[in-house]
């Protein structure tokens, strides 16, 4: 069954120096769904995510975000509608509140304090955290603040780059539950890079499998166990060993 696409790739290739990191990628991310992006390190997943909000541009091919060519979007508007949480959850020096209000400060706008308190609670942190120094946060807390920061922008698309890879089991589970909650509450389209295939199956509705810059397979998350593609089977076996 054909679904409405939030983001669509057609023949997208990209080089970094002499290395071709993406090779003719054609596929789509369904609107209002959680799509997980899996594949070995160096498969081009992070590059692909950065193409979605215009942090990078492809060498060839076309990318449509919410029906509009990514090159035609005004960069600031695109990045506020397709918002990204980075793997390292970088923070600016200052309090949690200063980090949360950063997207608004960049636009010279004021943030609704009540909304900020609500969002910090949504991600499972007490509002007392607002006055904490961002340097005092644990890895899990940083990721939660990073997600809260993107949520405050009320994006239509949430791009998550391995946000749980550096977390312990408890924090990972909390972040997973948070993402499921966000999706359920706001109906946000979520594209999530993960190395954890169990996580991909558990939380994702749809999956892309990328190997060596190519999109090998896309479909329902169950494909990870049901795929007949030898490359996908080999990748899944390698991870599960």
């Amino acid at each position: 069954m054909e679904r409405e696409a939030a983001i669509e790739f057609t023949g997208v290739s990209m080089k970094r120096g002499e290395q071709e990191v993406l090779k003719g990628v054609t596929g789509y991310f369904p609107k209002g769904k959680i799509t997980t992006l899996v594949g070995p390190s160096g498969a081009g997943k992070s590059t692909l995510l950065k193409l979605c909000n215009g942090l990078l541009s492809p060498n060839t091919g076309e990318i449509l975000v919410l029906g509009k060519n990514v090159e035609e979007w005004e960069p600031v508007e695109l990045r506020t509608r397709a918002s990204m949480a980075l793997q390292s959850a970088p923070m600016i020096s200052g309090t949690v509140e200063e980090n949360l209000t950063l997207p608004y400060a960049l636009q010279g706008a004021e943030v609704d304090v009540e909304k900020m308190r609500k969002v910090i609670q949504e991600v499972g942190l007490d509002p007392d955290y607002l006055q904490r120094d961002s340097r005092d946060l644990s890895g899990g807390q940083r990721q939660k603040v990073s997600i809260a920061r993107t949520l405050l922008m009320e994006p239509e698309i949430l791009l998550l780059d391995e946000i749980t890879s550096a977390l312990d089991r408890v924090s990972r589970q909390e972040v997973e539950e948070l993402i499921a909650h966000i999706h359920k509450t706001f109906g946000t389209t979520i594209i999530w890079i993960t190395h954890n295939l169990e996580q991909a199956e558990r939380i994702g509705h749809y999956t892309w499998v990328m190997i060596d810059g190519q999109l090998i397979e896309q479909g329902e998350s169950s494909l990870l166990n049901e795929s007949t593609d030898p490359a996908v089977q080999q990748f899944v076996r390698g991870i599960n060993l």
Partner: protein
């Protein structure tokens, strides 16, 4: 000083040569090359300066200053290869600093517009500007490399290149200026500046020597500030493209 006494100063070259040989430091060749080069270069510049001072021609002053700017630019560009168009950015900065400082000095009649004043002061201004530009570029490129995730964060949250680079730029400007400010704090306590010492040895009144040294100290403060800031604001826009993407060699179009 007679040529005979000047020849005696070679004892100060002999000491490191003997030490190098005895301790097998293997620095004899480099020491000899440095000695010969400094003798040839300084004697040559001495005769060139004598010719320019005697001629009192504006064209020769201009040529000397242009030569200094070209040499300084070529030296700085090696350190900033990763920044597109670094050559003209450095050249524009050095020309601007030179015009600004000489404009104030001559415009307010602080120093006369003669080769004896313009050339040595220009040498000090351009030389310091060159060192500052190198310090700034070193610091700026390492700031970008070590904080790339923060720059990317601000861009990904809808920030402009200027917003994304602002903290890194200010940090690089401050860091490159600190050595100038710190060395000026201890001036006269820890070290007597070279120019002032030279004047005193040559028999000038020590108070007059101090006055000229103060002029140079203040001049160098302006040079440091203007060089770092001009380099920063000329350099950062070329690190991004019109799509607000941070450019890296071969990373984006």
């Amino acid at each position: 000083m007679t040529y005979g006494t000047l020849a005696l100063t070679l004892i100060f070259v002999l000491i490191p040569l003997v030490l190098s040989k005895t301790l097998r430091l293997d620095l004899e060749r480099d020491t000899l090359i440095a000695t010969v080069r400094s003798i040839v270069q300084l004697i040559a510049i001495g005769y060139i300066l004598k010719f320019v001072f005697d001629s009192e021609s504006f064209i020769y002053i201009l040529l000397m200053v242009a030569l200094m700017i070209v040499a300084a630019t070529l030296n700085v560009r090696k350190k900033g290869k990763s920044i597109p168009g670094i050559t003209w950015k450095v050249a524009v900065t050095l020309i601007f600093v030179e015009v600004l400082t000489q404009g104030i000095l001559i415009g307010f009649s602080i120093t006369p517009a003669t080769p004896q004043y313009v050339i040595p002061i220009s040498g000090m201004v351009i030389g310091n500007s060159m060192v500052l530009a190198i310090l700034f570029l070193n610091r700026f490129t390492s700031e970008i490399e070590s904080h790339e995730d923060q720059i990317e964060l601000i861009l990904s949250l809808g920030g402009t290149p200027k917003q994304a680079i602002h903290t890194r730029l200010i940090q690089a400007i401050k860091t490159s200026m600190i050595p100038t400010i710190e060395s000026q704090k201890t001036m006269g306590l820890v070290q007597l500046p070279g120019m002032m010492s030279g004047q005193i040895i040559a028999g000038a009144d020590s108070i007059q020597a101090v006055q000229f040294q103060l002029l140079i100290v203040f001049l160098i403060l302006t040079t440091a500030a203007v060089t770092s800031i001009a380099q920063g604001f000329l350099s950062y826009p070329t690190l991004f493209n019109e799509r607000y993407q941070l450019l890296q060699e071969g990373r984006t179009r």
